[in-house]
């Protein structure tokens, strides 16, 4: 829940008057709100929590953390299919559920 993952800013654009960015988390790309770090620039790293950049991070720290999270499978936990994860936890298999995290069309 409080997991925050370092990501690198690929692009920045205004959407509905809100500063948004596409951010790369070791291969997974997500849309992230930059309103709390308005001076973050393309190429810089930030700690991102539930789609919001909360604090700048230096590149070396970010890379190390991403490598560790990848090793531990934590990126899958954060960005994988939550219905599958819940089903796996319940040992039900995926048959009862067919939802995905991408239901919010972008």
């Amino acid at each position: 829940m409080c997991l925050a993952v370092p990501g690198r800013v690929l692009e920045i654009e205004e959407k509905d008057g809100t500063r948004m960015a596409t951010v790369d988390f070791g291969g997974v790309v997500k849309e992230v709100c930059l309103e709390y770090l308005p001076d973050l620039k393309v190429g810089e790293y930030a700690i991102v929590h539930v789609g919001f950049a909360l604090q700048r991070l230096d590149e070396e720290s970010a890379r190390r953390t991403l490598a560790l999270f990848a090793d531990l499978g934590m990126l899958q936990e954060e960005f994988g299919d939550p219905w599958e994860a819940a089903a796996a936890m319940a040992e039900l298999g995926g048959s009862e559920v067919d939802g995905t995290a991408e239901e919010a069309t972008r």
Partner: protein, 377 residues
Amino acid sequence: MKYIEEFQDPELARRLLDDIHATVTRPWALMEVCGGQTHTIIRHGIDQLLPDQVELIHGPGCPVCVTPLEVIDKALEIASRPEVIFCSFGDMLRVPGTGRDLFRVRAEGGDVRVVYSPLDALRIAQQNPTRQVVFFGIGFETTAPPNAMTVHQARKLGIRNFSLLVSHVRVPPAIEAIMQSPSCRVQGFLAAGHVCSVMGVAEYPVLAERHRVPIVVTGFEPLDILEGVRRAVRQLERGIHTVENAYPRAVRPEGNPAALAMLEDVFEVTDRAWRGIGTIPGSGWRLSERYREFDAEQRFSVTGIQTREPAACRAGEVLQGLLKPHECEAFGTTCTPRNPLGATMVSSEGACAAYYLYRRLETPPAAPAHLEASPVA
């Protein structure tokens, strides 16, 4: 996993551990507040690498675990309504309410959707103007600013079919409540790094001073935890109690000013009930008067909820650090991730789930009930 070779930098881990072993002269009990840190500690066997005199007590910092049963039941009731699209983070799906969970509500036909970000829920509201979209706003100070920004955006864009079911909680009042408990054994705290990324450290010196406890702002990686423990133990051995920042790469003393300003605008401090613990004064946020129209509890008058906690569940004692998960009679027998009695067995940040996933085969069967937590052998 308790092999130091498996750390990202085994050499540094060894040096930190050597320093802790060399520093300790007597028993100390530290509490890691954050469930994410609990997960790291158990996953990597950090508690087993530390000297026997250093005990880590697992704190109540799992937002999924402390969301009150009454709020879960309200969520289940709202999510069951045909006009509602109920959006939540994935880790709330299997938290048991009275007799069911969001997973079950969805199987029964409720429109429950998992989102990565609260802004995704707002987008769903824009795309479905004839439906009521409710987002389950739980979490500590790390998660509150994203939810605050989302409500702020809803008002700015005039999206009226969006509302927030709020159950936000704050760390400092919880530390205060823990220290005031007569059975408290905590002598120092590892404060949650990402909470401090947002809030800064201004709230902590008064707690450190009043209760004479070191408070070390700590990150989430194994080496971060070792460094947090090392600094807390050094302070305790020297008889000092200050606030230290052992996570400077992500925490600035002032926190994130833009996020703090948004919290101030959208939320106001309120008393909040914590599951298994009870009401802690000033420990939560609710929507401020200006944003009250986006409060799902006001929009959907949920009445007649009869909450019922399983009698065998001792999550409250686990959340207060009075009991280690494996000391509960139900642990691993009548309570498992498949059939959880309480939220601490569901959430990946819950202490019971962490012990079940990483420690089950090593722990002895539950000892007779007692309130004196003892370290895992």
